[in-house]
Point group: C2
Chain length 191, copies 2
Protein backbone atom coordinates (compact mmCIF):
# COMPACT_ATOMS: atom_id res chain seq x y z
CA UNK A 1 0.00 0.00 0.00
CA UNK A 2 1.30 3.41 -0.94
CA UNK A 3 2.11 5.94 1.78
CA UNK A 4 -0.46 8.52 2.65
CA UNK A 5 -0.40 11.90 0.99
CA UNK A 6 -0.56 14.93 3.27
CA UNK A 7 -2.58 17.96 2.26
CA UNK A 8 -3.61 21.11 4.11
CA UNK A 9 -7.05 22.73 4.37
CA UNK A 10 -7.05 26.51 4.73
CA UNK A 11 -9.85 27.14 7.22
CA UNK A 12 -10.37 28.51 10.69
CA UNK A 13 -12.98 25.83 11.30
CA UNK A 14 -11.56 22.58 12.77
CA UNK A 15 -14.93 20.89 12.30
CA UNK A 16 -14.68 21.31 8.53
CA UNK A 17 -11.33 19.56 8.58
CA UNK A 18 -12.76 16.54 10.39
CA UNK A 19 -15.70 16.47 8.00
CA UNK A 20 -13.34 16.60 5.01
CA UNK A 21 -11.23 13.80 6.46
CA UNK A 22 -14.37 11.65 6.71
CA UNK A 23 -15.37 12.44 3.11
CA UNK A 24 -11.91 11.49 1.90
CA UNK A 25 -11.75 8.12 3.60
CA UNK A 26 -11.70 6.31 0.26
CA UNK A 27 -8.37 7.90 -0.66
CA UNK A 28 -4.99 7.86 1.03
CA UNK A 29 -5.03 11.45 2.23
CA UNK A 30 -4.26 12.92 5.63
CA UNK A 31 -5.72 16.39 6.01
CA UNK A 32 -4.13 18.98 8.28
CA UNK A 33 -5.67 22.28 9.22
CA UNK A 34 -3.88 25.40 7.98
CA UNK A 35 -5.13 28.04 10.38
CA UNK A 36 -4.45 31.19 8.44
CA UNK A 37 -6.50 34.34 8.21
CA UNK A 38 -7.42 33.87 4.57
CA UNK A 39 -8.74 36.94 2.82
CA UNK A 40 -11.83 36.27 0.76
CA UNK A 41 -12.38 38.41 -2.28
CA UNK A 42 -15.75 39.75 -3.38
CA UNK A 43 -17.04 38.01 -6.48
CA UNK A 44 -20.34 36.57 -7.71
CA UNK A 45 -18.39 33.35 -8.45
CA UNK A 46 -17.47 30.84 -5.75
CA UNK A 47 -14.85 29.45 -8.14
CA UNK A 48 -12.99 32.78 -8.23
CA UNK A 49 -13.19 33.20 -4.44
CA UNK A 50 -11.93 29.67 -3.72
CA UNK A 51 -9.13 29.99 -6.28
CA UNK A 52 -7.90 33.27 -4.79
CA UNK A 53 -8.09 31.76 -1.30
CA UNK A 54 -6.09 28.66 -2.31
CA UNK A 55 -3.36 30.73 -3.98
CA UNK A 56 -3.22 33.12 -1.03
CA UNK A 57 -2.95 30.18 1.40
CA UNK A 58 -0.29 28.47 -0.72
CA UNK A 59 1.86 31.60 -0.63
CA UNK A 60 1.86 31.39 3.16
CA UNK A 61 2.22 27.62 3.62
CA UNK A 62 4.01 26.34 0.50
CA UNK A 63 2.08 23.10 1.02
CA UNK A 64 -0.45 21.23 -1.18
CA UNK A 65 -3.56 23.06 -0.06
CA UNK A 66 -7.34 23.07 -0.31
CA UNK A 67 -9.62 26.09 0.07
CA UNK A 68 -13.39 25.92 0.01
CA UNK A 69 -16.29 28.31 -0.43
CA UNK A 70 -20.01 27.67 -0.47
CA UNK A 71 -23.32 29.48 -0.71
CA UNK A 72 -27.08 29.29 -1.18
CA UNK A 73 -28.34 30.53 -4.55
CA UNK A 74 -32.03 31.45 -4.89
CA UNK A 75 -33.34 31.65 -8.44
CA UNK A 76 -36.11 34.23 -7.85
CA UNK A 77 -33.56 36.50 -6.13
CA UNK A 78 -31.05 36.40 -8.99
CA UNK A 79 -28.76 34.09 -7.07
CA UNK A 80 -28.83 36.06 -3.83
CA UNK A 81 -27.34 35.50 -1.25
CA UNK A 82 -24.76 33.41 -3.17
CA UNK A 83 -21.16 33.98 -2.08
CA UNK A 84 -22.34 36.36 0.66
CA UNK A 85 -24.49 33.74 2.40
CA UNK A 86 -22.56 33.93 5.64
CA UNK A 87 -22.86 37.74 5.89
CA UNK A 88 -26.53 37.63 4.88
CA UNK A 89 -27.25 34.93 7.43
CA UNK A 90 -25.69 37.08 10.15
CA UNK A 91 -27.58 40.24 9.19
CA UNK A 92 -30.94 39.06 7.81
CA UNK A 93 -31.16 35.45 9.00
CA UNK A 94 -33.59 32.87 7.62
CA UNK A 95 -36.43 35.30 8.40
CA UNK A 96 -35.01 37.85 5.94
CA UNK A 97 -34.92 35.30 3.12
CA UNK A 98 -38.54 34.25 3.80
CA UNK A 99 -39.56 37.92 3.82
CA UNK A 100 -37.87 38.51 0.47
CA UNK A 101 -39.80 35.54 -0.94
CA UNK A 102 -43.19 36.67 0.41
CA UNK A 103 -45.76 36.20 -2.35
CA UNK A 104 -43.25 34.47 -4.63
CA UNK A 105 -44.32 31.02 -5.79
CA UNK A 106 -41.11 30.11 -7.60
CA UNK A 107 -38.80 29.02 -4.75
CA UNK A 108 -36.09 27.03 -6.56
CA UNK A 109 -32.67 27.22 -4.94
CA UNK A 110 -29.42 25.32 -4.68
CA UNK A 111 -26.54 24.98 -2.30
CA UNK A 112 -23.17 24.94 -4.02
CA UNK A 113 -19.68 24.26 -2.71
CA UNK A 114 -16.43 24.78 -4.56
CA UNK A 115 -13.08 23.30 -3.59
CA UNK A 116 -9.88 24.74 -5.05
CA UNK A 117 -6.74 22.62 -4.77
CA UNK A 118 -3.21 23.63 -5.64
CA UNK A 119 0.16 21.96 -5.15
CA UNK A 120 2.27 24.78 -6.59
CA UNK A 121 0.22 27.99 -6.12
CA UNK A 122 -0.16 28.30 -9.87
CA UNK A 123 -2.14 25.39 -11.27
CA UNK A 124 -5.49 25.28 -9.43
CA UNK A 125 -7.97 22.41 -9.77
CA UNK A 126 -11.64 23.17 -9.10
CA UNK A 127 -14.23 20.68 -7.80
CA UNK A 128 -17.91 21.53 -7.56
CA UNK A 129 -20.71 20.01 -5.49
CA UNK A 130 -24.32 21.10 -5.83
CA UNK A 131 -27.64 20.11 -4.30
CA UNK A 132 -30.89 21.31 -5.85
CA UNK A 133 -33.97 22.09 -3.84
CA UNK A 134 -36.35 24.83 -2.80
CA UNK A 135 -36.90 27.36 -0.05
CA UNK A 136 -39.51 26.30 2.49
CA UNK A 137 -42.48 28.49 3.55
CA UNK A 138 -41.44 28.39 7.19
CA UNK A 139 -38.36 27.90 9.30
CA UNK A 140 -38.26 24.20 10.24
CA UNK A 141 -35.77 22.17 12.25
CA UNK A 142 -32.86 22.93 14.52
CA UNK A 143 -29.99 20.77 13.23
CA UNK A 144 -27.20 22.01 11.02
CA UNK A 145 -26.46 25.70 10.65
CA UNK A 146 -26.99 28.75 8.43
CA UNK A 147 -29.85 28.46 5.98
CA UNK A 148 -30.42 24.71 6.63
CA UNK A 149 -33.83 25.38 8.32
CA UNK A 150 -35.31 26.83 5.09
CA UNK A 151 -33.77 24.52 2.47
CA UNK A 152 -35.64 21.41 1.29
CA UNK A 153 -33.57 19.24 -1.07
CA UNK A 154 -35.23 18.02 -4.25
CA UNK A 155 -37.16 14.77 -3.73
CA UNK A 156 -37.52 15.27 0.03
CA UNK A 157 -40.10 16.99 2.23
CA UNK A 158 -37.96 17.93 5.23
CA UNK A 159 -35.47 20.75 5.49
CA UNK A 160 -31.75 20.07 5.98
CA UNK A 161 -32.23 21.21 9.59
CA UNK A 162 -34.91 18.54 10.16
CA UNK A 163 -32.95 15.70 8.60
CA UNK A 164 -29.22 15.76 9.15
CA UNK A 165 -28.82 12.19 7.89
CA UNK A 166 -30.04 13.21 4.44
CA UNK A 167 -27.99 16.38 4.57
CA UNK A 168 -24.86 14.48 5.38
CA UNK A 169 -25.51 11.99 2.58
CA UNK A 170 -26.18 14.46 -0.24
CA UNK A 171 -24.65 17.75 0.85
CA UNK A 172 -22.95 20.07 -1.63
CA UNK A 173 -19.76 19.98 0.45
CA UNK A 174 -19.67 16.18 0.49
CA UNK A 175 -20.24 16.12 -3.27
CA UNK A 176 -17.40 18.57 -3.88
CA UNK A 177 -15.07 16.46 -1.73
CA UNK A 178 -16.19 13.32 -3.55
CA UNK A 179 -15.33 14.93 -6.87
CA UNK A 180 -11.93 15.82 -5.45
CA UNK A 181 -11.46 12.25 -4.15
CA UNK A 182 -12.33 10.77 -7.55
CA UNK A 183 -9.84 13.01 -9.31
CA UNK A 184 -7.21 12.35 -6.67
CA UNK A 185 -7.73 8.60 -6.97
CA UNK A 186 -7.33 8.69 -10.76
CA UNK A 187 -4.32 10.91 -10.41
CA UNK A 188 -2.51 8.65 -8.00
CA UNK A 189 -3.48 5.44 -9.74
CA UNK A 190 -4.23 3.66 -6.48
CA UNK A 191 -6.71 3.68 -3.61
Amino acid sequence: MASKKEIWFATSNAHKVMEAQAYLKTVNIVIHQAKIDVKEIQSPFLEEIATFKAKYAFERTKKPIIAEDAGLFIEALNGFPGPYSSYVYKTLGCEGILKLLTGIEERKAFFKAVIAYTEDGDDVKIFVGKVDGKISRKIRGTMGFGFDPIFIPHGFSKTFAQDSVTKDAISHRRRAFEAFATWFHDQMGHV
Copy 2:
Protein backbone atom coordinates in the same frame (compact mmCIF):
# COMPACT_ATOMS: atom_id res chain seq x y z
CA MET B 1 2.60 78.69 -6.00
CA ALA B 2 3.83 75.18 -5.31
CA SER B 3 3.73 72.61 -8.09
CA LYS B 4 0.80 70.27 -8.23
CA LYS B 5 1.00 66.89 -6.60
CA GLU B 6 0.00 63.90 -8.70
CA ILE B 7 -1.94 61.05 -7.17
CA TRP B 8 -3.67 58.02 -8.63
CA PHE B 9 -7.20 56.71 -8.00
CA ALA B 10 -7.60 52.94 -8.29
CA THR B 11 -10.99 52.57 -9.96
CA SER B 12 -12.47 51.26 -13.16
CA ASN B 13 -14.93 54.19 -13.13
CA ALA B 14 -13.66 57.30 -14.95
CA HIS B 15 -16.66 59.27 -13.66
CA LYS B 16 -15.48 58.79 -10.07
CA VAL B 17 -12.10 60.25 -11.01
CA MET B 18 -13.70 63.41 -12.44
CA GLU B 19 -15.91 63.70 -9.38
CA ALA B 20 -12.89 63.37 -7.08
CA GLN B 21 -11.00 65.98 -9.07
CA ALA B 22 -13.90 68.40 -8.52
CA TYR B 23 -13.99 67.68 -4.78
CA LEU B 24 -10.26 68.31 -4.52
CA LYS B 25 -10.26 71.68 -6.27
CA THR B 26 -9.19 73.46 -3.05
CA VAL B 27 -5.91 71.57 -3.01
CA ASN B 28 -3.10 71.31 -5.51
CA ILE B 29 -3.75 67.75 -6.61
CA VAL B 30 -4.01 66.24 -10.05
CA ILE B 31 -5.80 62.91 -10.00
CA HIS B 32 -5.07 60.21 -12.55
CA GLN B 33 -7.06 57.07 -13.04
CA ALA B 34 -5.27 53.81 -12.26
CA LYS B 35 -7.32 51.28 -14.21
CA ILE B 36 -6.41 48.09 -12.46
CA ASP B 37 -8.58 45.12 -11.69
CA VAL B 38 -8.52 45.62 -7.94
CA LYS B 39 -9.62 42.65 -5.88
CA GLU B 40 -12.02 43.58 -3.11
CA ILE B 41 -11.94 41.45 -0.02
CA GLN B 42 -15.02 40.40 1.94
CA SER B 43 -15.31 42.21 5.24
CA PRO B 44 -18.04 43.94 7.25
CA PHE B 45 -15.71 46.96 7.43
CA LEU B 46 -15.30 49.40 4.55
CA GLU B 47 -12.03 50.55 6.18
CA GLU B 48 -10.53 47.07 5.83
CA ILE B 49 -11.73 46.71 2.23
CA ALA B 50 -10.39 50.13 1.16
CA THR B 51 -7.06 49.54 2.92
CA PHE B 52 -6.55 46.19 1.22
CA LYS B 53 -7.49 47.76 -2.12
CA ALA B 54 -5.04 50.66 -1.70
CA LYS B 55 -2.16 48.35 -0.76
CA TYR B 56 -2.99 45.98 -3.61
CA ALA B 57 -3.09 48.90 -6.06
CA PHE B 58 0.15 50.37 -4.72
CA GLU B 59 1.93 47.06 -5.32
CA ARG B 60 0.99 47.30 -8.98
CA THR B 61 1.52 51.02 -9.58
CA LYS B 62 4.17 52.13 -7.05
CA LYS B 63 2.44 55.53 -7.08
CA PRO B 64 0.71 57.58 -4.35
CA ILE B 65 -2.70 56.03 -4.59
CA ILE B 66 -6.30 56.35 -3.38
CA ALA B 67 -8.84 53.53 -3.13
CA GLU B 68 -12.45 54.01 -2.11
CA ASP B 69 -15.32 51.88 -0.90
CA ALA B 70 -18.85 52.82 0.08
CA GLY B 71 -22.11 51.32 1.19
CA LEU B 72 -25.58 51.80 2.61
CA PHE B 73 -26.03 50.64 6.22
CA ILE B 74 -29.56 50.04 7.51
CA GLU B 75 -29.94 49.91 11.28
CA ALA B 76 -32.97 47.61 11.47
CA LEU B 77 -31.17 45.15 9.16
CA ASN B 78 -28.00 44.99 11.29
CA GLY B 79 -26.09 47.12 8.81
CA PHE B 80 -27.19 45.19 5.71
CA PRO B 81 -26.37 45.66 2.81
CA GLY B 82 -23.21 47.49 3.98
CA PRO B 83 -20.06 46.63 2.01
CA TYR B 84 -22.11 44.40 -0.31
CA SER B 85 -24.42 47.20 -1.46
CA SER B 86 -23.43 46.89 -5.08
CA TYR B 87 -24.09 43.12 -5.21
CA VAL B 88 -27.36 43.52 -3.29
CA TYR B 89 -28.49 46.31 -5.59
CA LYS B 90 -27.86 44.06 -8.61
CA THR B 91 -29.70 41.07 -7.15
CA LEU B 92 -32.49 42.52 -4.96
CA GLY B 93 -32.69 46.15 -6.09
CA CYS B 94 -34.46 48.92 -4.15
CA GLU B 95 -37.59 46.73 -4.12
CA GLY B 96 -35.79 44.06 -2.11
CA ILE B 97 -34.77 46.55 0.57
CA LEU B 98 -38.33 47.90 0.84
CA LYS B 99 -39.64 44.35 1.12
CA LEU B 100 -37.19 43.57 3.94
CA LEU B 101 -38.43 46.68 5.77
CA THR B 102 -42.12 45.87 5.37
CA GLY B 103 -43.84 46.53 8.69
CA ILE B 104 -40.70 48.01 10.23
CA GLU B 105 -41.13 51.53 11.59
CA GLU B 106 -37.49 52.13 12.48
CA ARG B 107 -35.92 53.06 9.12
CA LYS B 108 -32.67 54.77 10.12
CA ALA B 109 -29.81 54.31 7.68
CA PHE B 110 -26.59 55.93 6.57
CA PHE B 111 -24.41 56.05 3.51
CA LYS B 112 -20.72 55.78 4.30
CA ALA B 113 -17.65 56.18 2.11
CA VAL B 114 -14.09 55.36 3.07
CA ILE B 115 -10.99 56.56 1.26
CA ALA B 116 -7.66 54.85 1.86
CA TYR B 117 -4.53 56.68 0.76
CA THR B 118 -0.99 55.38 0.70
CA GLU B 119 2.27 56.76 -0.65
CA ASP B 120 4.43 53.77 0.23
CA GLY B 121 2.09 50.74 0.36
CA ASP B 122 2.65 50.42 4.09
CA ASP B 123 1.35 53.49 5.90
CA VAL B 124 -2.34 53.89 4.98
CA LYS B 125 -4.41 56.96 5.91
CA ILE B 126 -8.17 56.52 6.21
CA PHE B 127 -10.80 59.23 5.57
CA VAL B 128 -14.48 58.70 6.30
CA GLY B 129 -17.57 60.47 5.00
CA LYS B 130 -21.04 59.68 6.28
CA VAL B 131 -24.54 60.97 5.66
CA ASP B 132 -27.36 60.03 8.03
CA GLY B 133 -30.92 59.54 6.89
CA LYS B 134 -33.71 57.02 6.54
CA ILE B 135 -35.17 54.57 4.06
CA SER B 136 -38.27 55.87 2.28
CA ARG B 137 -41.57 53.97 2.06
CA LYS B 138 -41.53 54.01 -1.73
CA ILE B 139 -39.06 54.27 -4.58
CA ARG B 140 -38.90 57.94 -5.56
CA GLY B 141 -36.84 59.78 -8.17
CA THR B 142 -34.71 58.80 -11.12
CA MET B 143 -31.44 60.69 -10.63
CA GLY B 144 -28.26 59.20 -9.21
CA PHE B 145 -27.77 55.46 -9.02
CA GLY B 146 -27.96 52.46 -6.69
CA PHE B 147 -30.06 52.96 -3.59
CA ASP B 148 -30.45 56.75 -4.11
CA PRO B 149 -34.23 56.39 -4.83
CA ILE B 150 -34.94 55.04 -1.33
CA PHE B 151 -32.57 57.18 0.76
CA ILE B 152 -33.80 60.42 2.37
CA PRO B 153 -31.02 62.39 4.07
CA HIS B 154 -31.67 63.72 7.58
CA GLY B 155 -33.39 67.13 7.51
CA PHE B 156 -34.76 66.70 3.99
CA SER B 157 -37.95 65.23 2.57
CA LYS B 158 -36.77 64.15 -0.87
CA THR B 159 -34.68 61.11 -1.75
CA PHE B 160 -31.18 61.49 -3.20
CA ALA B 161 -32.66 60.43 -6.54
CA GLN B 162 -35.17 63.31 -6.42
CA ASP B 163 -32.64 65.97 -5.47
CA SER B 164 -29.20 65.58 -6.97
CA VAL B 165 -28.16 69.10 -5.90
CA THR B 166 -28.53 68.15 -2.24
CA LYS B 167 -26.86 64.81 -2.86
CA ASP B 168 -23.89 66.44 -4.49
CA ALA B 169 -23.58 68.95 -1.63
CA ILE B 170 -23.71 66.51 1.29
CA SER B 171 -22.80 63.12 -0.13
CA HIS B 172 -20.72 60.65 1.86
CA ARG B 173 -18.19 60.46 -0.97
CA ARG B 174 -17.78 64.25 -1.07
CA ARG B 175 -17.35 64.34 2.70
CA ALA B 176 -14.67 61.65 2.58
CA PHE B 177 -12.81 63.57 -0.12
CA GLU B 178 -13.15 66.79 1.87
CA ALA B 179 -11.60 65.08 4.89
CA PHE B 180 -8.77 63.92 2.65
CA ALA B 181 -8.36 67.45 1.22
CA THR B 182 -8.18 68.99 4.71
CA TRP B 183 -5.52 66.51 5.79
CA PHE B 184 -3.63 66.97 2.58
CA HIS B 185 -3.71 70.75 2.92
CA ASP B 186 -2.37 70.59 6.49
CA GLN B 187 0.25 68.11 5.38
CA MET B 188 1.58 70.24 2.56
CA GLY B 189 1.36 73.55 4.44
CA HIS B 190 -0.10 75.38 1.44
CA VAL B 191 -3.26 75.63 -0.63
